[in-house]
Symmetry: C2
Subunit: 225 residues, 2 copies
DNA sequence: CGTCAAATTGAAAGTCGTCAATTATCGTGG
DNA sequence: CCACGATAATTGACGACTTTCAATTTGACG
């Protein structure tokens, strides 16, 4: 079956590309035919197994993609922020679910009856780049899930998010502890305990639960040998 | 940068496509310009960070791709068997290392100075399909690593491999317990203990350590709710 | 100020890892 | 063909890290 995306160029990004977990920058692979959609917190954007007819770009807010086991266990694959593109999974069916972490606005672009090649070389290349990056991230994530301890996971998470803040030293989290836990393969309690532990050791400061300052960024980075 | 693969079609697969962890079938995305290479057990095929100038197809034997932490911890991303294609990671640099699990023969294909689009629509589509499948597998693997227990992991591993045997009920493992452990995010001891446990419960039989019969396939499948 | 969800903290349990010893397996050479 | 040595695999005992269960505190919002 032919892979079908109708990509069109959009040279005026709708939001500053402050990107982290998904796209390293605004890549301009956007259709002009996009339509704006709003999702309130925890609302489902699409569900695993649904047919793939659109892909999305985040305008504001945060989106998570995840998988579930039938008993409710959840693994979050990635978080997406303003400028990030998501929803390109599988040829025909979504391999993940996508949900709004916070109230958010996205633009959805319809896949049309033209295959990748027909879409043109430049666009195909951008799509490749996107997939390659997703793949590399997934591999890095697997290493974290399979081989890192709780402290290492949490430290990596904080450093990752700090990298896309202004000073690289503070993080304001849109997600709950449960989201973090399900991203890191831990429980809420372990995440909470680990953060408290890091605060006691003066590696971070938590003015509020969602605002974290990385006071010792080097030490945090050192957890990721 | 343009994504560059010079794909050429090869309609006569070099080996029966008994595929599992990587490719669902022989997809014919092969250059005629491939050259045969042999690697003895545990030999490195390429290393993470190396420039990507070739990709590979397994003729015989088994290959693993993996990542390492500086202290030696290893996470195996995937195993590849006869007919599987591997080595397509990243635009310029390998995001994984590849090593021979057993003595093996592969065909390597050189990437050339033509970008994806120039390679033609059909080939671009096949590459997309390949990447999408890799991505879906990586996500499934992350769910396993982050949210499944030791028994569930081992059961899933066995069922996966049995799916590509003749009767779907027996597995002959090319890899060591250490390989299995590093694939599942466990230790050798836990893998070994879990297998013994499954044997005591009559879910499997182990004539030898590397030959496993799944006597109760249904029960094993049920671990993956 | 009261209510509810989110987050923290404590205590206890359990799963899995670590360390160590034993057994099995395979290739090699006598 | 058997013995030997090296590597792989199994098993046990113990311990640590993480989870589970439960209670408390914090924070957001009407």
């Amino acid at each position: 079956m032919a892979t079908q995306f109708a990509y069109q160029l959009d040279r005026k990004p709708v939001a500053a590309a402050q990107v982290k977990f998904a796209e390293p920058r605004d890549n301009g692979v956007l259709g002009l035919a996009g339509s704006v959609q709003n999702f309130s917190q925890d609302r489902e954007i699409y569900v695993e197994g649904a047919p793939v007819d659109t892909f999305y770009k985040v305008v504001s807010g945060v989106v998570r993609t995840c998988k579930f086991l039938s008993d409710g266990r959840r693994q979050i694959d990635a978080f997406y922020q303003a400028g990030d593109i998501f929803g390109i999974e599988g040829e025909a069916l979504h391999s993940l679910s996508a949900e709004a972490v916070s109230d958010c606005t996205v633009i959805s672009y319809r896949r049309r009856g033209a295959d990748v090649a027909a879409a043109g070389g430049q666009i195909a290349d951008q799509l490749f780049e996107h997939l390659m990056q997703r793949l590399a991230r997934a591999q890095e994530h697997a290493l974290l899930l399979g081989r890192r301890s709780a402290v290492e996971k949490v430290a990596a998470f904080l450093v990752d998010w700090a990298d896309c803040s202004a000073d690289h030293r503070s993080v304001s989290l849109a997600m709950t502890r449960q989201d973090i836990a399900d991203y890191l393969g831990l429980t809420i309690e372990t995440v909470s305990r680990t953060l408290s532990h890091l605060e006691r050791d003066s590696l971070i400061e938590m003015p509020t639960a969602r605002q974290i300052r990385l006071t010792d960024l080097e030490a945090l980075r050192d957890f990721n040998v």
